[in-house]
């Protein structure tokens, strides 16, 4: 799996190193036909029209008031200024704890990512010790197949305040505590949503980390056991370091999931109660469509893009180093 440095298509044409045998000439010759371009054309056309051009359009639009989504009234950085300093629904650092969509996304990143990784690893390790490993993994993985909209229905049902309907309040009620409105309380709603997100994604981490665990040579663990290492030491000193690379790749994926998170919040709470559970992607939709503030919607989309750019660079770097080795 190697990707050659950009081929020099100059006068000599072939671009292959010295000692070329005629076969490779033929290979290069076949490639000089316009077939490559013909095969690429539909993809390039769609990528340009639906991704590249819109990206530049949206960046420009974010500097406009942008009524009807057109370049009306240049406002410079005002959309950004409003979002970042005067919109408590987007980010509000004036209270403690802070609030707003950006802060909610921060909570999501911290708690969703760490719990998914932690639970995923624990379940993968536990499951590897039993015969019914495949069943456990399938059960935990199942939510990955289901739409976020369906997860929202499943968990809205679990969270229902009426203890004769909602499972969670029935359990709480059995301990004599009053019904809790998980999605109706601004202090609880984000935790309720993050829990659903964790429940939905743990299987993904479990399956990936389980594959990584299988790559750890059993001799290492056997040797540690022989040397008298405890299960705890084996877990923290051998297993955790050996799966740290897949863990970091997973963490990046989970963070991207959070930045793009929309369906679950939109269906379960509509960003509410009030605006308590809004996230960035939700704000983008809300500003652009129901509110018709296209310039501000564009600015939120650009904020998402800016957050994702470091990850884009990380991906390209990772890809290039993988390609070299």
């Amino acid at each position: 799996m190697s990707i050659a440095p950009p081929p020099q298509q100059g006068g000599t044409g072939t671009g292959v190193a010295a000692g070329t045998i005629p076969r490779q000439d033929r290979f290069a010759l076949g490639g000089r036909s316009p077939v490559g371009l013909i095969l690429l054309a539909p993809a390039l056309l769609l990528l340009i029209v639906f991704i590249v051009y819109p990206t530049f359009y949206t960046i420009l639009l974010s500097f406009n008031r942008g009524r009807r989504g057109e370049f009306t009234e240049w406002v410079g950085l005002r959309n950004y200024e409003q979002l970042l300093t005067r919109d408590p629904n987007f980010i509000n650092l004036g209270t403690f704890p802070p609030s707003g969509a950006v802060w909610n996304n921060v909570l999501w990143i911290i708690f969703y990512t760490s719990f998914v990784l932690f639970l995923g690893l624990i379940i993968a390790v536990l499951a590897s010790r039993v015969r019914y490993e495949a069943i456990i993994k399938a059960v935990v993985f199942l939510p990955m197949a289901i739409a976020a909209t369906a997860l929202a229905v499943i968990w809205s049902f679990v969270y229902t305040p009426n203890p004769d309907i909602g499972l969670l309040n029935a359990i709480i009620g059995a301990f004599g505590a009053g019904p809790i409105s998980f999605l109706g309380d601004p202090n609880l709603v984000n935790w309720g949503l993050i829990a659903v997100g964790i429940w939905g994604s743990v299987g993904f981490a479990t399956v990936i980390l389980s594959a990584a665990l299988k790559g750890i040579p059993t001799e290492i663990i056997e040797a540690a056991r022989v040397d008298g290492a405890t299960e705890r030491q084996i877990f923290f000193r051998i297993i955790v370091p050996m799966v740290s690379l897949p863990m970091s790749v997973l963490a990046v994926t989970l963070i991207v999931n959070v930045i793009k998170l929309f369906d679950l919040v939109f269906v379960m709470t509509g960003g509410g109660p009030g605006t308590a559970s809004r996230v960035i992607a939700f704000t983008m939709y809300q500003e652009a469509f129901p509110s018709g503030q296209f310039g501000r919607g564009a600015a939120v989309a650009v904020v998402m893009l800016i957050i994702l750019i470091p990850i884009m660079i990380y991906n390209i770097r990772r890809f290039r180093t993988e390609a070299v080795t």
């Binding site: 990707i3 950009p6 033929r26 076949g30 036909s33 077939v35 490559g36 095969l39 690429l40 993809a43 769609l46 990528l47 029209v49 639906f50 991704i51 590249v52 051009y53 819109p54 949206t58 009807r68 536990l126 010790r129 039993v130 019914y132 490993e133 495949a134 993994k137 059960v139 935990v140 939510p143 990955m144 289901i146 739409a147 976020a148 909209t149 369906a150 229905v153 049902f157 679990v158 203890p163 004769d164 499972l167 429940w199 399956v207 990936i208 389980s210 299988k214 997973l250 994926t253 991207v256 930045i259 939109f266 269906v267 992607a281 989309a301 893009l305 994702l308 750019i309 990850i311 390209i316």
Partner: protein
Amino acid sequence: MTQHAGALSGPAVETPPRTLSERIVRALNKTPIHIALGIIALIWLAPTVGLLITSFRPRSDIQATGWWETIFTLRFTLENYQEVLQARGMLQAFINSAMIAIPSTLLPLAIASMAAYAFSWIKFPFRDTLFLVVVALLMIPVQVAFIPVLNLFRETGLTRGYAAVWLMHTAFALPFGIFLLRNFFITLPRDLIEAARMDGASDIGIFRRIVIPLSVPAIAAYGIFQFLWVWNDLLLALVFVQNGALNPMTRQIQGLLGTYGTEWHLLAAGGFLLMFVPLIVFFSLQRYFVQGLLAGSVK
């Protein structure tokens, strides 16, 4: 991706217990593990099973007692499904979901495999730079396209049909598809392709007769991933399907939850209709599905 082939199968190899006492000691040692896994399985199954049971309970029972008390009543009905399918338009929405998902899977499958072949086996200027651009496009959030693409389509009226949602799903599926398929195509044996070239096969011929047949597992994984992605999508349908009669199931259920938030007989049945196709895919094509999802982790 081959490293994930057995991702969901095969427990760790262990020497079988030699004596009865050893077997008992091992079982006792593992008791805490079994208990922990039992609790985990319960937490991951109960919410879904609860909704499944609820979808078959009569409305009056749902309002009166929890689904976990069904064992005391044991009354089941198909009326909820009947009502949600007919009166709440879920049958039409089911058809609409398929109308959106099938072209949105086949189009990127065809277009991405063509491009991936060009990126792996044809030489042209700036090929590898262009490929890095495609990798970069993986991270562009779909939100940046909402306003410009709606503007583009406003005059043409394409948002009144499915064209806009098909094209958006296709375009945003391409970077991942090209990336995944190209990484698979370059692992095909070079000798095979060069031999075909020497025998005078054209690029199109090599693509159709050698590359595609040898790449069925990768193409299937991508196709299944993409199909479920679109089937489960709400956001693009929300923005780009602007005719209520064409709404897919995700939008129909989101609407139900908004309007009939306490009518659990409808929501449970509707929710299960939405999950029906993905669950069938999951249980029948688990291997491809898991591979697609794992490879798709970059999306």
